[in-house]
Amino acid sequence: MTGRTPLALAVPAAVGLAFLVLPLVGLLARTPWSDLPARLAAPGVVEALRLSLGTATAATVVSVVLGVPLAWLLARRAFPGRRLVRALVTLPLVLPPVVGGVALLLVFGRRGLLGGWLESAFGITVPFTTTAVVLAETFVAMPFLVISVEGALRAANARYEEAAATLGATPWMAFRRVTLPLVAPGVAAGAVLCWARALGEFGATITFAGNFPGRTQTMPLAVYLALESDPAAAIVLSLLLLAVSVAILAGLRERWMSTP
């Protein structure tokens, strides 16, 4: 590939890049570097970071455990209403997260469809707990995994599963020993996207799980509330969130994704 890059492409590309990068530059430029260590060591910060990493990871695990079979069903089985199911699965992608939070409250809340029963039968209440944070994050993040894995499954040759069957593999064995390893890069990519989305989740979390330090106050919530009283603290928290995301995405990219 040689030749000059057409201006009609180069200019919008440069503007697009600048648009994406400039806010990060702004964040770095306004960072109070001198008292950064002290601010990072503040107890609330560490607590929020630990909670964020923990819940995003838990949400990713839940998404993989439930999302991969769902993706397999969508990619490999023709059943009536499949298109509708796929539309429903991807709905959280376009739904404002706050709406998702309200919807979760209506299901798992004390007066919700399941919540009332859970409380009366088992004494379990979901809202305002760390579990609620994981549920909210899973709700908004799982579609990323399902879409990614379904794409990988469609790209992978379904006839490998037939070959496995002729060798005596039950459908479950074929899935575990052949299909899953074949789509592993897609699962990894989906899990990374899912994790990143869960880490940044705000709207559904604050609506459904509320905001309490150490229990439901994740990094984005801490950033938002810090902005109310102490913008410098908000910048520090944002910077930390950015650094963690970049570090983990870069690490996983090295390890898992072989995109050139």
Binding site: P127, I206, A209, F212, L225, L227, S229, P231
Partner: protein, 254 residues
């Protein structure tokens, strides 16, 4: 500064010509669009005041942006185009006056007190702050960083009550909505908010709220595009008819 005056004059001319022959306004009469940034707890009462003001001053139009006072104050200092700022806390107002963006001294036009918002009919029989400490009572409070949270902290300190809420909400309306949805049994909110949601919640008054009165200051802003309209709107908020609307919403007179 110069440009905004020119724009204001231009708006006046446009409005005057739009009005045709009838009720020729004097040069001091307001017109054009007045942009008001107001605290979320003023949503219902200010919407009403805006309509009344428009009726009293034909040709003017009031647009509101309601939000957390601290957010609004930040927007103003960051250069948001606005004519009037009505805050739920003097602290947030101070951010604006310190930045030299207020035209004149802020005026305290209303006061608000906290009440305990409970589900309609008060099923948990809550009569005061002490009742909120029970293990089976779930409480939502405002986060300390926002005005209603600051007031809550003062009231709880005055009552010497230690509360562990299930959530610290980012603004008073969010705390109230948790009660309306039935997810918590009680929330400390402004009396005005409880009254606005009277269909779903009851407001339980408690004596310590007197120790945590919230002042609502209002001021015209210097960087606005309609200084005449801004001054007129602030004057209207201080008027007798406006006081009646505010009292009806549950505010106290300062």
């Amino acid at each position: 500064m110069k440009r905004s005056t020119v724009l204001g004059a231009l708006a006046l001319v446009l409005v005057a010509s739009g009005c045709g022959g009838q009720s020729r306004p004097s040069s001091a009469a307001p017109g054009g669009t007045v942009t008001v940034l107001a605290a979320a707890s003023l949503t219902e009462s200010f919407t009403q005041l805006g309509k009344d003001f428009e009726r009293a001053n034909p040709g003017t139009h009031v647009t509101f942006s309601f939000g957390g006072s601290s957010t609004l104050a930040q927007q103003i200092t960051a250069g948001a185009p606005a004519d009037v700022f009505a805050s739920a806390s003097p602290a947030n107002m101070k951010q604006v006056t310190d930045a030299g963006l207020a035209a004149g001294e802020p005026y305290t036009f209303a006061r608000n007190q906290l009440v305990i918002a409970v589900a309609k009919g008060n099923p948990k029989r809550i009569t005061g702050l002490a009742d909120l400490t029970g293990p089976d009572v779930k409480v939502a409070l405002c986060a300390r960083a926002v005005p209603c949270g600051a007031a809550t902290t003062k009231a709880l300190d005055a009552a010497a009550v230690k509360l562990t809420p299930v959530t610290l909400e980012q603004d008073v309306k969010a705390a109230l909505s948790k009660v309306r949805l039935g997810e918590v049994d009680a929330a400390l909110v402004y009396r005005t908010d409880a009254r606005a949601a009277a269909a779903d919640v009851d407001g339980v008054e408690f004596p310590e709220s007197a120790k945590a009165v919230n002042d609502y200051p209002i001021v015209a802003l210097t960087k606005g595009s309609n200084p005449t309209g801004a001054t007129a709107f602030v004057a209207y908020v201080r008027s007798q008819p406006a006081a009646a609307v505010l009292a009806g919403a549950g505010f106290q007179r300062p």
